[in-house]
């Protein structure tokens, strides 16, 4: 069998790593421990590299930040719902009645100032508990009203085109998942204003989606 030397093997190393592995190159490796070790190392690196590939999503904050920036630059229009008569009036009621967590946060800040006077400066678990409880108090009514709106919407969906209904339900599931993620972030760091803002934004997205569903009226029939 033909065989090749080290220099020729090294010339072909790129092809070898691309999977072109002729018999003469195999023959060389059987007789050359240095080239064999080199090829083995490069194979090991390549195989381990595959294992460090990720399929992870960035946190929701990335999309929110992108979207906010694009809105500020006027590249996309804010996804504000313009209420039509009747069909989406509940949305106005929801947002008029419920203060933003940031606003609720101002109220909570006063509570914490009192708490700090008693417990001293610094961040504590007690503060976290107060922030968490305050945020939950301000978002639970909103969440409850959205649940009611969701039930009404699903009642209407019974007569909808199945394809449209499935699509809307899928979108709703995505938003619900996002809300769950934001709630988790708030629970992990109740004093993080951004986390509370994102949670509010998530509820707002759900409200906007439900409003759009209501606006579809006949749901594609």
């Amino acid at each position: 069998m033909n065989t090749i030397g080290c220099n020729e093997f090294l010339d072909r190393l790129g092809d070898w790593m691309e999977g072109q592995r002729p018999a003469e190159a195999h023959a060389h490796l059987r007789t050359c421990s240095n080239c064999r070790a080199l090829a083995g190392d490069l194979d090991a690196i390549q195989q381990t590299a595959h294992s460090i590939a990720l399929d992870e999503e960035p946190s929701p904050r990335v999309w929110l930040a992108v979207r906010e920036q694009l809105e500020q630059e006027g590249l996309i229009l804010p996804d504000r719902h313009v209420p039509a008569h009747g069909s989406a009036s509940w949305l106005d009621v929801v947002f008029a009645a419920i203060p933003r967590p940031v606003l609720a946060g101002a109220y909570l800040a006063a509570l914490i100032a009192v708490g700090a006077a008693l417990t001293g400066p610094g961040r504590s678990r007690l503060d976290d508990a107060r922030w968490l409880s305050g945020t939950e108090n301000s978002t639970q009514p909103l969440s409850a009203q959205l649940d009611t709106a969701e039930q009404d919407t699903f009642s209407a969906l019974k007569n909808a085109d199945p394809v449209v209904a499935a699509s809307l339900q899928k979108n709703l599931a995505i938003v619900d998942n996002y809300i769950a993620l934001c709630e988790k972030s708030v629970r992990e760091d109740p004093q993080d204003e951004n986390a509370r803002d994102y949670l509010y934004g998530a509820y707002q997205q759900k409200a906007a989606l439900l409003a759009q569903m209501s606006d579809r009226g006949d749901f594609g029939r």
Partner: protein, 203 residues
């Protein structure tokens, strides 16, 4: 919404279309950024910057190349700019793909077989070694060996020839081999030192 529709609608400023494009591509862009910088917070910032640049320029997208290739070219450029700021050196796609990052051809003295890496490479020490690669090597290695791009796609993303992509990849792997060998030797030295000091202490 299919990608071509999303692109067309995003070019008209449709918010849902932007979000759809983000959903379609954010995982891959984020993974690329994360493997390039090795830090989740930084990778998220870079992902954000890449998509912002994409959406700012989307009206100019004419479909000459695949949308994903265009996006990844933007993302790689954003990462390289970040690495440039970190290192204080000028680094751009053009610079990192023009010729070699180190002068000369790949060296032929690949060393005696003192340690074989097979079995001693794990994800952690490989990522540590990748972090030490020069930007151009790192980009091609991450795109090809980690993310699974073909050389023709990398050539388009990096704006270089296919041959250049292959050459950079080969040099990246050789450099990684050196770095990993060095890490294994350093660990062995450390273990010997620790063993020596503990046995020396037992008088």
């Amino acid at each position: 919404m299919a990608e071509p529709d999303a692109i067309r609608l995003a070019q008209q400023g449709d918010a849902a279309a932007f979000e759809r494009l983000y959903q379609l591509h954010s995982r891959r862009v984020y993974s690329l950024c994360l493997r390039m910088v090795g830090n989740t917070a930084e990778a998220e910032d870079l992902t954000q910057e890449a998509f912002l640049q994409l959406f700012r320029k989307i009206a100019t997208f004419r479909g000459e190349s695949a949308f994903s290739t265009w996006l990844h070219r933007l993302a790689v450029n954003v990462v390289l700019m970040k690495l440039r700021k970190k290192s204080g050196k000028e680094t751009s796609l053009e610079q990192v793909t023009e010729g070699d990052e180190e002068a000369g051809t790949p060296r032929r003295d690949f060393g005696a077989v003192d340690i074989e890496l097979t079995g001693s490479i794990d994800r952690v020490n490989l990522q540590r070694a990748v972090d030490q690669l020069p930007p151009g090597y790192k980009s091609v290695f991450v795109l090809h060996d980690v993310q699974g791009y073909e050389h023709n796609e990398i050539a388009e993303i990096m704006g270089c020839s296919i041959g250049n992509s292959k050459s950079q990849l080969h040099k990246a792997r050789m450099r990684l081999r050196d770095l990993l060998h060095e890490a294994v030797r350093a660990k062995a030295r450390e273990e010997r030192r620790a063993a020596g000091s503990s046995s020396g202490g037992e008088v």
